[in-house]
Amino acid sequence: MRLSKLTLCGFKSFADETVFTFDDAVTGIVGPNGCGKSNVVDAIKWVLGERSSKSLRGKEMSDVIFAGSAGRAPAGFASVTLTFENPELKGEAAHRRAMSAHGGPDRARVGESAPVAEGSGQERGTQAEPGDDDASPLDADARGRRALPIEADTVEVERRLFRDGTSQYLINQRRARLRDIRDLFLDTGIGADAYSIIEQGKVDAMLLASAQERRTIFEEAA
C-alpha cells in the first residue's frame, strides 16, 4: 500500500484545486512563512477524520473552508482527497495481513477507543451520514488479500464540508460514514492523530506527555 496523491480544493488557503503526488521516497515541501505548508498537514488530518477544529487551528469546523482573500470571494465548500495504491498482496505480506486482520474483536476495540469529543468544535449542521443500515463500503473478503479492505487497486478517500454545515465522507466516490473511514485504516498506523503525523512545534509532545498518555500511543502501535 502506498499514498500516491493528495488533492485539495477550497481547503484553507488552497482556493483552487491543487494536487501533490508522492511518487518518491522523501518529498520535501518548502516555501516562505505563511504560505500554506502546514495547511497541507491539516488537510491530511482532516480527511482522515479529525473532529476537533481546535486541533486544525480554527475555532469552528467551517474555518477550514477557504475564507476569501484580498482578490477572491470565500469558497462554498472544502474538499480533500487522499489516493492510495492498494494492490493485491503476494506471499508473505498477504499472510501477515491475514493474520492481523483476524485479530478480531481485540483490534476493533483499540480503534474505537477515541470517544467522540462532542464539545470540541464539532461540525454543526446536518451530519447526513448514510443510514446505519446501509452496507459498509468495505469488502470484508478483501481483508487479508489487500492492505485496505476494498477490492480495488486504487482507493480514494474524500471528505467534503459545505458552508451550510453538511459534511460528507466518500470512499471511491461512494458515500461512507466516519466509522467506515476508521475501519478502513484499522491496523495500518494511519489516522488523524496517529504517531505518523508530527505537527509543527509538536515533535517533543510525546516526550512531554504523561506516562499514561504515552501508553496510549504504544497501544495504537500494538
Binding site: 518548502v30 484580498a70 477572491r72 504504544f218 500494538a222
Partner: protein, 186 residues
Amino acid sequence: SRTLFEDTFTRIQEEFAGPNGMFRKLFGGGRAELRLAGLVKEVQRPDGTTEKVETEETDVLESGIEVLAKPPGKEPRAISQLSGGEKTMTAVALLLSIFRSRPSCFCVLDEVDAALDEANVERYTRVIRQFTDLSHFIVITHNKRTMSAADRLYGVTMQERGVSTRVSVKFEHVGEGGAIRGSTHE
C-alpha cells in the same frame, strides 16, 4: 491482549534503547531506557485522608511508560533537563522506534528540524533514509540541508496574496530568501 502489548513494548524498547537502537544512532553513543512506570495507588494517611503515591509495582496492562535519556558523556537526566535539540533527537528516536514496530505507508514531519544544529540535521536526514523501505516521508522544512536530502521538492507559495499554489522546485532554485525562483506550474 496482554501478550500483544508486552511484545510491542519489548520490541519498541529494543528498537529505541538497544545497543544498536535509534537513540545511540542519533546521539552517536550514550544510553536510553524505556520502562513501565510504577502504579499510582491511593494510600490512607493516619489522619484518614488519602494521597496518591507511586509504588514499585508495575503491570503490563495498566502502567504508564517512562523515558530516560543519557547523552554520551553526561549524567542520566530527566527529559526536562535535556536541551532543545537533545529533546528533538530523543523524540525522533522514539517515534521511529514505534514506527518500526508498526510502520504506516506514510509519515509527515512538519519542521521537526527547527531546533537542530547542522550536525544533527545531517543525522536526522540520514536516519529517515533508513526507513524508506517501509514508508514514504513528507518533510516540511526551511533548512537547506534537509531540502537537499529530499528526492523531490514542492514549493508552496502565495503568488496571489492569500491564495496558496503548488509549484515544482529544483533544489538550486530555492533562493537565499527561501523564496522560490524559476518554478514551473505543472
